[in-house]
Symmetry: C2
Subunit: 328 residues, 2 copies
């Protein structure tokens, strides 16, 4: 993945000197599935770790079709006018059909794509983490080392991917579309309860009045829910990404939010918890790797697999036999 002449040292220095080409190379390295790249990726993260943590990490979630990319284009453009350097991490062009009548996400961030203070990275989700790229956490750190002050992380908003993204960001924004009262039946407590800010997008044209009703309904529903963030009551705003409407208010709410969570200390506390969470994920991965690469255990597992396929043994009984042989 890395050219041999490019050392990790010069790669890390290049990133810190804001070289976007090297930043892109670095993210490709950390996303590489080659075992030899794993070691390098870890060393690289160690090299840049002291230069990280100085951004605001913003998660943007919502169902497909809700307008996440369009919102990021509008919101990001607004932020660049405040002289902020923005990194956008989005997921997987391979999970959107980009030929035929269905467009890829990239075409929906036209304004941002042309701005030199903006770095956009689309990573493969590989299908296994519900719309959060496998190495999003590390990609955030690399972008921070490269001096990006706002990191916008786009993810599909249901279940696992939401919980994952919540464990990586300082602020979580949930986008929803205007919908009649009946459609609120589809509102999932889980999705709403982890958001700091709920934006009713597409509040323009015919949908504007429906958006206002939706906003009220969500505001009412929020009373029944817990806030994901100590000291902060989640807000609901109606916006139109296409018309750039309500975007300054989004930024204002985020500023208010940050002021509060920084003054209470919850901003730092959450970051600490997130580091712990990361540590445990790495630990779990490495433990499994250690055990499953052991030759004897691999043989045992292979033999057991045959019995499982032929329905000779229940998984529980089979696993118990393997576990009994593990001494450490």
């Amino acid at each position: 993945m890395l050219k041999s002449e490019l050392t990790l040292d010069s790669l890390s220095k290049g990133i810190i000197n804001r070289d976007n080409t090297l930043l892109a190379k670095a993210i490709t390295l950390i996303e590489s599935t080659k075992p030899t790249d794993h070691e390098k990726a870890e060393q690289l993260i160690n090299l840049i770790l002291k230069k990280t943590g100085n951004s605001i990490r913003i998660g943007i979630t919502g169902s497909p079709g809700v307008g996440k990319s369009t919102f990021i284009d509008s919101f990001g453009s607004f932020l660049t006018k405040l002289d902020k350097r923005i990194a956008v991490l989005t997921v997987d062009p391979t999970s959107t059909i980009s030929s035929g009548s269905i467009l890829g996400d990239k075409t929906r961030m036209e304004r941002l794509g042309q701005n030199r203070n903006v770095y956009i990275r689309t990573s493969p989700s590989r299908g296994n983490l519900g719309g959060v790229a496998l190495k999003t956490r590390e990609a955030i750190l690399l972008c921070e080392a490269a001096g990006y002050e706002m990191i916008l992380i786009e993810t599909i908003g249901v279940g696992q991917s939401e919980i994952l993204i919540r464990s990586m960001v300082d602020v979580l924004i949930l986008l929803i579309t205007p919908a009649g009262g009946d459609e609120l039946q589809g509102m999932k407590k889980g999705s709403v309860e982890i958001a700091d800010l709920i934006l009713i997008n597409k509040s323009d044209g015919e949908l504007e009045t429906i958006a206002q009703t939706t906003q009220k309904n969500y505001e009412n529903a929020l009373h029944l829910l817990n806030s994901p963030t100590e000291g902060w009551t989640p807000k609901v705003l109606s916006i139109s990404s296409i018309e750039d409407k309500g975007i300054p208010e989004v930024w204002q709410s985020i500023t208010e939010y940050l002021k509060i969570v920084k003054s209470t200390g919850y901003f730092d506390k959450r970051r600490e918890l997130q580091r712990l969470d990361w540590f445990h994920k790495v630990l779990d991965d490495e433990i499994m790797k250690l055990i499953l690469t052991n030759t004897e255990i691999r043989k045992l597992i292979k033999a057991t697999e045959k019995q499982i396929v032929n329905d000779i043994e229940s998984p529980y009984t089979a696993v118990k036999k393997i576990i009994n042989k593990l001494k450490f």
Copy 2:
């Protein structure tokens, strides 16, 4: 969880004798988070394992609001008229706001709920598997042991939960709502590519013509995609769950599908792969449990956590130190 006088033996016999009260107790047992219940749950599964495998397992996925419960009510009612015994496994009333203006899922399966050949079980998702209950696989087996011939498993359709459900069912149905051409941008290849049958729901009233367009668009898009099932080309149908329209055609398509996959042997092959998948999940869980309950390792991890919180060490370096101490 279990009354002391109720042995696992009599519990398993009760299930096999189609006692729904005991079936419910058994599912509660397997879902229990109490460590002492885990052992019992595994023994119970071992006791009933020989009586499992004789149902058709049907996954039903789709975004919130697409009408999954209403479809299950309509489709399930149709199946009961064919004298089928149906079990419905749905997820988590706690993730839907059931007070105020937002209704719980249960109220949307009114017809099914009153049928004595139908067993409906709603399980908590606990937020961590994106809408698939933690023990869905085991719940399926218990329902099969209780003689249910069709198991309908409802799940929220994005990312992780879809992949999980795909690894548990014989047929996967994706529900979508009619939407204009532009909305197809929100179509995710990942969701569509794992479905055997795509149903455009709410094809009634004003939406009927839009549904037909949506159906055509999806039929066209399917040409670009791989089928999840060897020998079968995924089908798109327009239906209305509220008006019971297109429901016999859904059953007809499933019958065709089953005829094909059973004749090619892929039905059995998939079940084998699913058993393997289950075995590996149980194995991973047990390995982690074995290691993380070791007193010495726990101490080491606790000490490391402090360094992580205080940002003294990178997770990678910290984990390496722990892994180096693991000998087995």
